[in-house]
């Protein structure tokens, strides 16, 4: 009797020390963490200030307005050593990073999808060749591949006087790839207007076609109309304008002189090497993403679509690809991000990207390590975070809604 009562009285009001309260403990741990982080930052900051003062290095972002005093081999905006500032150099580097990433993403998507689909081919030979491609490219560091392209392949190209002629105004030599340079006439606006009208028109036509199919079941030749509006119409306009002597686009061909090529557009060998390396390397990863995505669509889907009487082309277009894309897009975006980040390896072969120009030359000239590192990392971080924010929105839209 007595023992029962003690047991009951023990359980009724729990005598809790506040030290056992998970909330109190949680707050304690977090206060310790915050204190440690603040302490670390404080020590680092005081040391940095002292070190900078001793080395007589200025601080703050004023250096962005100072004259740069160095040249950059590829500039998309006006840039000169004497007249441009470090801020201009930053923009030049950023644009160079963005352009190599954008062109790289465009090509690597094609190559990656091609190899990924080839890996699933029923043709044994094609599948094996694609597999060897993926395994070799994935297992060798990008840096080695870039150096290989730059030094071993492009370095072996002939002098300008012996340029390799590749037809259609393309020349290849040790100074890079030369090709025709498009010159825009003032009436290019007409062509652009037609193209924009075509795009807008095809967009509305597709919407109309979809609504009509939902209401009446009749299908419209969407693809043919779209192609006509977007490609045939602008090209026709171009031809008509050219016939009337108002050619909106003309090409300046590179001409072969005794020692060098003049005119046309020159693409730096560094750019070519970087692009080749990034495209082939990332394509191997994208191929795996695509393969996994297509394999993730269960066989039952294909069979069910077939039993509904859809022809193979439509099964692929309407059933398999939309479902595979849901699996493919998120890792594909992260591969695009990887390509953008990997473009920073340009520094190894001397392509003037953001890291090479800003973290390299500007950092060495000004010595303002903290500011330069913060700006450069901030750029990459912004690109990554924007992309992943966009990805989250997309994911929410395409995620399977479970009922």
């Amino acid at each position: 009797m007595n023992s029962v009562q003690t047991a009951v009285s023990q359980t009724s009001p729990p005598k809790k020390s506040f030290l056992y309260d998970p909330k109190v403990r949680g707050i304690f741990y977090q206060v310790v963490l915050v204190a440690a982080v603040i302490f670390l930052f404080y020590v680092a900051a005081t040391n940095a200030i002292e070190n900078l003062q001793r080395a007589r290095i200025a601080s703050g972002f004023g250096f962005l307005n100072n004259t740069a005093g160095f040249d950059i081999s590829q500039t998309l905006i006006q840039f000169s050593a004497a007249g441009s500032t470090y801020g201009d150099a930053f923009i030049v580097g950023l644009l160079n990073t963005l352009i190599v990433s954008a062109i790289g993403i465009f090509f690597t998507t094609f190559l990656g999808f091609l190899v990924g689909i080839a890996r699933l081919s029923k043709n044994w030979m094609v599948a094996k060749v694609a597999m060897v491609y993926v395994e070799v490219l994935r297992n060798v560091p990008l840096l080695v591949q870039l150096l290989f392209w730059y030094i071993a392949v492009l370095g072996a190209l002939p002098q300008p006087r012996n340029s390799l002629e590749m037809g259609a105004g393309f020349y290849l030599n040790s100074r890079g790839l030369f090709m025709a340079k498009p010159l825009w006439a003032p009436n290019i606006g007409v062509l652009v207007t037609v193209l924009v009208l075509g795009l807008v028109g095809s967009f509305f036509y597709r919407r109309w076609a979809r609504i009509q199919q939902e209401q009446t079941g009749r299908q419209s030749p969407v693809i043919k109309v779209t192609l006509t509006l977007v490609f045939v119409l602008p090209i026709l306009t171009w031809i008509v304008l050219a016939l009337f002597g108002a050619n909106p686009i003309s090409f300046e061909m590179p001409r072969k002189g005794t020692f060098n090529l003049t005119g046309g557009m020159q693409i730096l060998p560094e750019f070519v090497a970087l692009l080749l390396g990034l495209v082939t390397y990332t394509a191997a990863f994208i191929a795996e993403v695509v393969r996994a995505g297509i394999l993730a669509v269960s066989k039952g889907q294909t069979e069910a679509a077939g039993s509904l009487g859809l022809p193979p082309g439509k099964i692929l277009r309407l059933v398999v690809i939309p479902q595979a894309m849901r699996v493919i897009i998120p890792p594909l975006t992260s591969q695009y991000l990887n390509l953008t980040k990997n473009s920073s390896l340009a520094v190894a072969i001397g392509y003037p990207d953001l890291v090479q120009v800003f973290m390299g030359t500007v950092l060495n000239q000004t010595g303002q390590a903290i500011e330069v590192v913060v700006i450069t990392m901030g750029v990459y971080l912004t690109i990554s975070l924007l992309t992943s924010a966009f990805m989250n929105v997309y994911n929410r839209r395409v995620a399977i809604v479970e009922r």
Binding site: L19, K122, M125, V140
Partner: protein, 439 residues
Amino acid sequence: MSTAVDMPNFVRAREVEALPPPNLARGPIAWIRENLFSGPFNTILTLVVFYLLYVSVPPLMKFLIIDAVWTGTDRAACRADTGGSESGACWAFIWDKLNYFIYGSYTISERWRVNIFFALLAIGVVWLLWLKAPRRDLGAVYFFWVFPVVSYILLTGGNESFSGRFWIGFAIFGALVIALFAFVAALLKASLRPAFILGGGIVGVIGVTLALVDLDFGLAHVPTSLWGGVLVTLLVATVGIVVSLPFGIVLALGRRSKLPIVRMASVIFIEFVRGVPLITVLIMANTMLPLFLPGDMTVDRLLRPLIGTALFASAYMAEVVRGGLQAMPKGQYEGAMSLGLNYPQMMSLIILPQALRIVIPGIVNTFIGLFKDTSLVAIVGIFDLVKTIEASRIDPAWAAPTIGITGYAFAALFYFVFCFGMSRYSLGVERRLAAGQKR
């Protein structure tokens, strides 16, 4: 009317031998027909691939093997103007420079120490990665404590000769740590024994480590500026994995924590590091680390990129481990809590052993990425394998047209062998783990 029964001569007395399978349904010819020439499109595809292979493979083989120069002592062997051959790879160059590619400029008489380091590393890797190895818990202790300490002593020579003041400082620090643990235990009204064991253990491990590093084993000091080649490549990768695994686990736990500030700090660190390229982290470590330390303290030039890569790899490892933690069914957490285990016990005894096991393939894949990324330290001037090849490539004694391509082919082969081996291993583990999950 006659029936079949009436006609006994229709019943076979003996079995007829089976016909051989038709050639067109089985056998190599059928296989070729089905897999290579099953339709006009496939036939064209096969022929195109055959043509591409015909164009690319024989010249490659010719360059790499048939026409290659295997012996020679200097550039003469690989230059046409001195009677050598220029049409094939110059393997003689690799052979001549092999020691430099493996050890860098490490003192020649002391290179046996590097060999022991390679052997110790191999033992640790096999112990941890071979799923049937005995006592893998001891393997972890070996890999994360014994091996780093021994390697440090072997490679640098140890014999740090700490001052007496340093040891007094350490004694005070140790006493403080043990006192702190005892104080917390007293506050929590828990027994003092585990507190002393835990605090004493931590202080003891650090103390033994410092004492070992302090002792003079009679090994000559080899400064890190002499290290190079494969040694540095493997060293960066090893330090990366030894640091990033524990640190990554802590970050992953932090990211899954219920405490908002801990979670936020982990998320910020992980997303920050994953959002920037490794090369910017390396340049940051190279230029900013010396700024953040007191003026009289210098950081070894090799240590800076080591810190950079280790931090970088930790963030990626954290995401892999988080995947494993999230894959654990909720019942495991609830079961552990219902047994009355506290957070450290629940994590170390129930959750982590299972979670880490299912993410072994992910860990190995991260490690493959880390191993390839070690080549980036070449950009900040560390003599890893890529940098030693770069340096040898421009050596006038070996100035020949095929040197560059041979050097990079060698580097590619080296990385390929390691990375491909690891990826096969992770595939094998994945298959084994999947076998247990099959219903």
